[in-house]
Subunit: 302 residues, 4 copies
């Protein structure tokens, strides 16, 4: 078993650590708010005071944070993980950041003799807990081969997609469809509903039809009842859409469904609905159609 | 076992008849080009000379044709099926026509003492042959209950959605997502490909991710190799999209992803690609991005 | 001076008649609600009891009605204008109908020995009263030449664009930009306003900039104060947009800005704002952005 | 007459300097490629070796460069203009940069005791030479009042819109309509053309209609004959669209026509047409519609 480090013990990150501990690995963790990690300490995880200390204590250090800015905070500086890396060590970033940022970090990691992989996950907390989470991996193929057994302790499949930065690219290319599928689904539900079909019936038919992706199956029922806590709120979704649109612009690829869906996410924010799961695009469309959903802006209610 | 009639023995219709014959029903069929139905005659189906003769010979008559115009051709007139209906008989339309047209036919059927259901299918030839095709049913609930056993000989599930015309509504509300999901998928593939990921790898990752609906699993690989014969070509898909947009306009529901995807289908036609499966929207986007696919307009090649 | 007939004495039609009377022509008029035409009778116009009677009394008969259905009502039947046409007479339709419908009427007019032109106008009541209205004309070029002097009594310019139906085509091709320009203008105003620029200042700058078309100059100030009576309400605008989208589909031309703007007009209807001038798309966008306009649905208020 | 400085003597900047010289001002100029400014030197302009030297020699220093990066190059550093500013001096930026960047520079200018205005222009070289260019001005109102006479030597109107950064905001809010109007215009031309109207006739009718903004009048004829040198190429236009989309995202304003038009500009780049004037979106749409324009990618031809 390997000595592993994990920085970023949020909803997803903490559950990845749990799986790694369950698989028998030694894990040293770091979280900005250390108290949130107590349950993992109870399970055997060690806490380190800084990202650097994590990297120093580990053969392989993972990060899983919200965005590029958050990643730089744990990566750089005197207490950053980069300062704790050394030849022979490996750094694996599971965050969804811009491919350019990912490649730049990889260059800095390589410059100090260590190796980096980008390994974002496809799936949700539920998929993760069911042990069905798949990973996409970018970086040196030999480094990937060496780490593969550890990655397979996280989920059943790790697909090597190419050089550094290409796994986050693949993640972004996947995630744009999450929002687009949700919006198209909402268009269908509203056509059915305004025609006289009950919303529940419409949802049931759609999730069981040819368009019923895992995303549609999970989130489709959200239009009936939004979860109290967003799985992935509008701001988070819009971050990923913006990364996609940036790639589209840089690479000269028009992205018609991504861009139009992104505007509806903007509208969700304009209407005060940004704290909901991004499935709330249904409500944006419903309001435009004069259909009631009984939900209000989260900020307005409190 | 019931005496059944079936009008419209195309790719889908003929395979439905096969399932009904396999289930032990007597089937009388009609097709404009009778020769195409020989294999069903060999299996025991009787051929009738007109739609009217089919309806006269049957307790329950089905139709499954291309569009509203084709439906009216077999429905009306001296040789039409309406002329063969009588009190106690049932007529089931499995075509995708406009809900308004479907409701109008139902009125005429009811006026002559018979009953009508609209029962479009969700799925493809493959789903049908695997016995996994689901039906949505609109019309009188008692008539639906009476016919349900026969419908379940076609597929494993028949969902009652409401009054006449609501099942085709539900079908249209479903189908818009087929095209939208395909276009969003294409956007993802092109981002991956222009970033340096092999197209095959991108397709594999996407179809196995959270966005992998049955549609994405079937058609995703089409971007690597288009089928010789379109499952559902651009014109057919655009017919369904136009029905959705008409409903959206009538019911005052904005349909952002449907409408923008429909314009790409228009572009497919403008570029001479309309005879391909609608998955060819990938090629439209690829051309806009300066990416080669090796495919040409079907009309131009011959 | 010629004997002229005019069917459809609405806001625009009645003012065209006034100009023709002012120019010294004899005019026989018809309106469904005859009382609305009293002021024209006071100016010397004769009233006829039916469209047919108008055509019988006139060398040149004009129509200017709301849509294709309204046009067929005055055109067909025992009392319709077609029954009053004869060899040597000319019929000029100034309505905006579908090019296909226009061509079909032209065929029927030609079949009875008369000639038809389609001659829709570009401009508003204001332009008309200022004598600046321009006409586009479709049909036989010689017929156009013969009628040109009369048409120039309506406005200063009549442009011959080609065969029957092509002038309404040109009108539709023009009108799509009205709505699109208005929506783009609204996007600009909201960016300015949410950044801290006063709405009045933003409007003033925009209408005087390079984007200040006559439409923008007329309608731009509407975002500050909507007119009590719509110049051209959402339903009317959406009729023209739908004609454009139909042409786009038939001719295989993707219309990205038309289609997306049309969805916002749909939203205006979904939100109960359809009785306002189509400049109300500003309010749709404002609501999506969380900006107050102080205007409510017209139907809801009463 | 004032001592003026001007940094950035490109197509627009140099002609602004000419107007200032014509008005009797002393002007000290700087351009990266000094030789391009020889004709201005011949007219009496002095050349300075660095931006700093320009600012040191002038009461009021102007900049007019391509983008934020170019602006920082002349603004910062030992030889930058900031180093040459002093209490009582004024700095006027006429470039189109992001409002946030503009505000940040204003803060740095104020910190050294000088004042800054952002004063982008609305219009083209033609408008400028005709003396019809209008300016929007952001910054301190008193500073604006003091400088107004000089600004009016550039164009006939200078509108004060508010605090620092708001004039560039207003410029961006204007420019999005340039591209949108051009694309909507193109949709109209193609509808006309594929219906059988000559492209020249369609252009003539449209530019003289209610949608004929100055932009449409200038650029409409480009669809018949593209200028050899782009007035404002796709990359420049897309820069401004991206600034608009960034504002839309930051301020939570959906921008449906901006975003969809921006994707067509992306397509222009994907098809190798980026060096053309942005009016080339006509060609993108024409290709999607199967219409020939006789133009090729600029890069491919050479």
């Amino acid at each position: 078993m390997a000595k592993l480090g994990f920085i970023g013990l949020g909803v997803m990150g903490s559950r990845v650590v749990k799986r790694l501990l369950d698989a028998g690995h030694e894990v040293t963790g770091y979280n900005r708010t250390a108290s949130k990690a107590q349950w993992l300490v109870d399970m055997g995880m060690r806490l380190a005071p800084t990202p650097r200390a994590v990297a120093e204590a580990s053969d392989v250090t993972f990060t899983m944070v919200t965005n590029t800015a958050a990643l730089l905070q744990v990566f750089e500086g005197a207490h950053g993980l980069l300062a704790g890396l050394a030849p022979g060590k490996t750094y694996v970033d599971m965050s969804t950041v811009s491919p350019a940022a990912s490649r730049e970090l990889a260059g800095r990691v390589t410059a100090c003799g260590a190796s980096m992989l980008d390994a974002p996950v496809s799936g949700s907390v539920v998929t993760l807990e069911e042990g069905k989470l798949t990973l996409m991996v970018g970086g040196d193929r030999d480094v990937f081969r060496k780490l593969e057994p550890i990655l397979l302790d996280i989920g059943p499949k790790a697909t090597y997609v190419g050089d550094n930065g290409l796994a986050v690219t693949m993640k972004i290319a996947t995630n744009l469809s999450l929002a687009v599928q949700m919006l198209a689904f909402s268009e269908g539900v509203l056509i059915a509903e305004k025609s006289g079909i009950k919303r529940e019936v419409a949802v049931e038919v759609l999730v069981n039809s040819a368009i019923g992706s895992p995303m549609v199956k999970y989130r489709g029922p959200f239009v009936l009842q939004m979860p109290n806590e967003a799985w992935f709120n509008c701001n988070m979704m819009q971050k990923d859409m913006s990364l996609a649109l940036e790639l589209g612009r840089d690479l000269a690829i028009p992205l018609p469904t991504t861009t139009i869906t992104n505007e509806l996410l903007t509208a969700a924010r304009g209407m005060g609905l940004e704290d909901y799961d991004f499935a709330i695009v249904f409500d944006v469309l419903a309001r435009l159609s004069g259909v009631q959903t009984g939900r209000e802006g989260k900020g307005q209610a409190s």
